[in-house]
Each structure stands twice: as C-alpha cells, then as structure tokens.
C-alpha cells in the first residue's frame, strides 16, 4: 500500500519530479479546483489492488484540490451504468470508469460524453474515441515475468499454467503466454487450471495440489495473478516440491513480498504495476482532458519486474519499502504536463 507516509518520506525524490505547482499556476478549470467535481465509478472494489487503486485516485484528486465522488457498483454491471447516469445528473465535470463490461458501459459513457463530461476508462474498453483508456499493460506484465522465467530456467521446461478465461486482464496476459509458447517451442504446458472461487488462494491451492501430484514433472508455474500464485505456492509447499517448482506471477502486495521472501520460496518473480500509481494516472489523465489537453487515446502505466533476488538483496519486506527502494514503483512518468501537482502532504 502506498500510504501518505511513503510520500512524506519521498519528498526528496518528488522534488526532482516536475511541477509542484500551486493552484494559481494551473490552467482552467483548476485555477478554482474546489469547483471541479469528478466521479469514480467502480465495477470491482474488493481486494488489495482495488483498495490501493482507490487510494491513488483519492490522493491525486486531493493534490489537485478537486472534489471526488466514489460510486461503487460491486460487480453489478447494470448498477454501474445507472451510476454513470447518476453522476451525469449530479453535474460532475469528469468521470473515471474503473473496470466494467463494454456492453453495459458503452451507452452510459456515450451519454456522459454527450453531456459534455470528460471521461477516462481504466481497464474497460468503452469503445468511444473521446475516452482515453488507462491501462496497466498486462502484456508487459506477462512479458516481464516470462522473460525472467526464461532467464532462470532456460528455453525448455514443463509448465503448469493458471488461467480463468473471460477476465480481460487475464485474457491479455494469456495472449502473451501464447506468444511465448510460440516463440519457445521448448515450453511444454501440461496442465491448465484456475478458479475464481472465493477465497481464491485456497481454491487454487486445492486445484494446484491435484495438478502437481498428477504432473510431477512441472518445473515452472506461470500464475499471472498474485492470488493464483499464492494458491500455487501453498500447494507446492504442501506437496513438498518447493525446491523443484518455480512460480512466476504478476501483481504484488505486502503479503506477496513476504511469501516470495520465505526461505526456499518457489515464487521467483512477479511483475507489477503499482495500483496506486494507476489510480493517480487515471486522475491525471482526466485532469488533462478537463484542462483541454490531450493525454492520448491510450495511457499505459509501465510495470516493474520484482524478483526474489532483488527483494532479498535490498531487504524489502513491504510495499512501503518497495516504493522507497525501487523508485520506479511509486511514480510513473505518464500524464505529466508541467502544471500537474503530485500528491503530497
């Protein structure tokens, strides 16, 4: 979690970054930021990632001085669309759509755009040219993790793969996985499994136990979502195969760091975008739109590779230290016009 304290602690590095602006220097409408109201309309909200994303949004909004309203549809697609309409009715200036279904959001977003409201979308394609897409690059996430797997294990290994189709970010990560299998014919995928049954780590652990006992030759598990990786690691350890199997994943949290750093942990590397940074970038892109600037049709937040070796070397034990010791992780230099203020206290 990127807390306020991180930023307090990081004042030095932030000073090097562009534009610690004050309101008077900001373009309209941010010369009177209290008048500006933006809405965050969420589809997913449960879990560390979404919590951290929200904190990023909140902090960047606070840095800009704008008012933020949060609408939480809790995985109800129809409700999410209604909430966009609600935001329109409230007369907000900008909307961030966070996740959702293309089918349900497309028309609602169009209504918002028609009402003159600026909209950005995170991780949902609303098929609207006026709406910039904020993306954590899932392809890059998968690529970074898999490249590390090649570095560690060579070009030929037997793999287990955790995947649940139909979830957009997982589908994008899956594309990269398929590219890699094409590029390295030595990769032999013998098992594919996965579930989103709650608690996910427990359910995946049950499946992974069966998979590793049925396929003892697996040496690499590609689990491109940290809950999957956690489940696989529990199962591999329970099966006493902790030293035979290596796990590569995506996303990171304090708990993940602790698991990666356990002695003989099979979890070798993960690639992650800081969700709080994604939240900040979402707000910044929206602010650019409101100020009449163009953030670009796609705003991609680059991921960072985090390896077990790196964590051990730098003695990183939680997200704060990760931010402190891997500065690339706390700030992404995207959607950064000169006037943009950054969060700080």
């Amino acid at each position: 979690m990127i807390s306020r304290r991180v930023f307090a602690g990081l004042l030095g590095s932030i000073a090097l970054l562009p534009g610690l602006a004050v309101a008077q220097d900001m373009p309209a409408p941010f010369d009177a930021p209290a008048e500006v109201e933006i809405a965050l309309v969420r589809y997913l909200s449960t879990g560390d990632f979404f919590q951290a994303y929200l904190s990023g949004v909140e902090q960047q909004a606070a840095a800009l001085g704008v008012t933020l309203r949060v609408f939480d549809s809790r995985q109800d697609a129809a409700l999410q669309a209604d909430m966009v309409d609600q935001a329109i009715a409230l007369g907000v200036d900008g909307i961030i759509v966070q996740h959702g279904l293309t089918e349900s959001m497309q028309e609602a977003v169009q209504r918002a755009v028609d009402a003159g409201i600026k909209v950005v979308a995170f991780d949902v394609n609303v098929e609207n040219p006026a709406v910039p897409q904020i993306e954590q690059s899932d392809r890059d996430l998968a690529r970074l993790a898999l490249e590390q797997a090649i570095v560690d294990n060579g070009e030929a290994w037997t793999a287990g793969y955790v995947y649940v189709p139909g979830i957009a970010p997982l589908d994008r990560r899956d594309e990269t996985w398929r590219d890699f299998k094409g590029r390295y014919p030595g990769i032999n995928e013998v098992a594919m499994f996965g579930t989103l049954d709650n608690p996910i780590a427990n359910a995946v652990a049950n499946q992974a136990r069966s998979v590793v006992s049925a396929n003892p030759t697996i040496t690499v598990m590609f689990a491109p979502y940290d809950e999957f990786a956690k489940g696989v690691m529990i199962a591999v350890n329970e099966a006493g195969m902790g030293t035979d199997v290596s796990i590569y994943s995506a996303d990171v949290s304090t708990a993940d760091i602790a698991m990666m750093r356990e002695p003989d942990s099979p979890w070798k590397a993960t690639a992650a975008t800081n969700p709080a940074v994604v939240g900040e970038v979402s707000v910044r892109a929206l602010a650019m739109l409101l100020a009449g600037e163009e953030p670009g049709a796609q705003v991609i937040v680059p991921p960072t590779l985090i390896t077990q070796a790196m964590l051990n070397e730098l003695d990183i034990s939680n997200m704060e230290e990760l931010g402190a010791k891997l500065p690339a992780f706390v700030h992404a230099d995207v959607a950064m016009p000169a006037w943009m203020p950054l969060p700080r206290r």
């Binding site: 608690p199 427990n202 949290s253 939680n318």
Partner: protein, 339 residues
C-alpha cells in the same frame, strides 16, 4: 424400515451413493494413475477439510429444522480476526484461536436469539448476519487484507506475524505409514465429524434436536426446551464455522478479504448430499462427511484430468441434484419440505 427383504430400489437408495463414489474412485485411478496414492487420498480430505467442518456445523442447524447462511461469513471473519489479533495486536496463537471461537459462538448465539426470541425466520436472520459480517470484517482494516508489514491506518506498519504454532494448525503433517502424510486439518475434520456424529445420533441432546426438527410443537409439548436447543444448534454452527476460518487462516498465512460465499455454498452442498447417503433422507453427520469427501474426490479427479473450473461447478451441481433426487423422489418419503 422394517423390511427384511430389501428391494432393488431400497438397495439403490441405501447404497447407491456409496457405490457411485466407489465407481468414481475406480474410474479416476484408471484414467489418472496419480489419483490412487496415499498422498492423493489425504489430499482429497485436506481439500474438503474446511468446507467439511463448516458443513458439519450447518448440519446441526438443519437437524433442528433451521438453516445457517452465515457460516461462510463467520469463517472469513475468523480468518480476518485471527490475522488481526496476531499481526496487528501481536498476540499469541492461543489468544487468536480463543477469540475466533468465541466470536463464532457469539455470532451463533445472536443468530439463535434473532430466530428464537425475536422470531426472524432463520434464512432471513442468518442472511442478515452474513451481510453484517462481510462488512464488519473489513471495517478495522478499511477493506485491506491483513499481512505482516502492512501499513496501518493510524500510521506505522504492522509488525506482528502469524505464529508458527498457529500456522501448524493448517500446515503441520503427521506421520501415518508415510512420513509427513496427514495434515492436522484432516485430523480435525475426522475428529469433528466423529464427535458430531456421536452427538447427534447417540446422545439425548442429539435425539431431542432431531425431534425438534421433525415436529417442534410436539417436542415442546413433551417438555423439550425447544428454544434452547435451537440456539445451541446455531452456536455449534457458528463455532465450527469459526474453527474452519482458523484453519483457512493457518493455510493461507494471511488475512484475506473474502466473502466466503463459496465456502457457504460448498458446505451446504455437502450437507444436502449427505441426506442421500445410506438413504437417511435427513440431515446427518456421517452423510455430510461423505458428501464433502465425495465432492473432494470429484474435484481432485477432474483437476487431474485438466477439466476447467466451470465443468467442475457443473459437476458439483449435477451431484447435488442427483443426491436430492435420491433423497426426495426415490425414497418416496417427502423428506422435509424445507431447503
């Protein structure tokens, strides 16, 4: 059943489910040779240990003609609570376990009071409790999962850790012919199943609980304290659910935010499948345990055959439907109207 000569239908009702299970084991061990090993067998039990324990709790409420929808949420609340106690308050494993069990019993007591004294229908009362707990467990951490090193809302980082003694509950393995074979959680499942079975089938209290489930009015007129037994049933359910949550926390090693709905559904499925075992046509602990293991065998086998998760849900559903047909249609008894 007074018949000395069992007809084919009677035999099917009685032993059909166990035969089906034996058939599955044979099938899976042919198509997936790794299936038939001691490790694999133990793993089946391990994978259903938590849902099995929850299912035994819900069986107690089914016996008195009730239902507990809050067990999944109680389990995940215990998961969060144990993590909170150890990681944030930095207290010992013993305190964590004690507080969790106390929490589970208290939730059961509240459920019981809502249902018995305040006359809220059981499904509604426990549904309300479920939502309440799903929300409540997130309030102290503002929706975050709990793990060592997490930033605290008040500033600072959590310094506590899951104590090794606590983690043992979910991870320690006992030697049983093969070294490090049987996880403690499996031992707990078996022990709790045996205790609940003995309690319900052979003690006075179990008998009276069945009487209440069959005809509460008649039981009351026979001098049974119906309200007290109902409350006790919910307390058993809550306590066992919180124990399931403790095992879950010990396996995961962190306080994961989760609704526990899948835990609820899987345990209810196990308890309902249990109606069909040995043609009991009523909630029973032995059937519940067999039902849980049955689901475990199916899922283990299917996963070994690389079946995707949705076919597993489908198969689970199919098993449940077949079990209910066994219970309600074939046995020709109306069973009990509810559920």
């Amino acid at each position: 059943m007074t018949a000395r000569r069992l007809s084919l239908v009677d035999l099917a009702i009685r032993y059909g489910f166990l035969l089906l299970m034996a058939g599955l084991i044979v099938y899976f061990s042919i198509v997936a040779p790794a299936f038939l090993s001691p490790q694999s067998a133990v793993f089946v039990f391990q994978s259903v240990a938590i849902t099995g324990i929850l299912a035994l709790g819900v069986t107690a409420t089914l016996v008195v003609g009730g239902f507990d929808l809050s067990i999944g949420a109680v389990a995940t609340s215990a998961l969060m609570l144990s993590a909170y106690v150890m990681v944030i308050w930095e207290m010992s494993a013993g305190v964590a376990v004690a507080l969790c069990l106390l929490m589970g019993a208290t939730v059961g007591l509240l459920n019981g009071i809502l249902i018995v004294k305040l006359r809220v229908p059981d499904l509604l009362a426990t549904l309300g409790m479920m939502f309440l707990l799903v929300g409540l467990q997130r309030i102290p951490t503002e929706g975050n999962s709990i793990s060592t090193g997490m930033a605290l809302p008040g500033g600072g980082a959590a310094q506590g850790t899951f104590s090794p003694a606590f983690l043992m509950l979910g991870r320690h393995r006992l030697d049983f012919f093969v070294e490090n074979l049987v996880p403690l959680s499996v031992v707990f499942l078996l022990a709790i199943a045996v205790v609940v079975w003995l309690f319900l089938e052979f003690t006075r209290h179990g008998r009276l609980m069945y009487a209440i489930g069959s005809n509460a009015q008649a039981a009351g007129l026979a001098g049974v304290n119906v309200n007290r037994y109902k409350i006790v049933a919910y307390m058993i359910s809550g306590t066992l659910a919180s124990f399931g949550g403790i095992l879950l926390a010990a396996r995961l090693g962190r306080g994961d935010v989760a609704s526990g709905n899948n835990l609820l559904l899987d345990s209810v499925a196990a308890a309902l499948i249990g109606y069909a075992v040995l043609g009991a046509s009523k909630p029973n602990a032995f059937g519940t345990a067999v039902g849980a293991v049955f689901v475990g065998i199916l899922l283990q086998g299917l996963t070994m055959l690389n079946a995707p998760y949705y076919t597993q849900d489908f198969v689970k559903g199919a098993v449940l439907v077949v079990a209910l047909v066994f219970t309600f249609a074939l046995s020709g008894r109306n069973g009990r109207g509810r559920v």
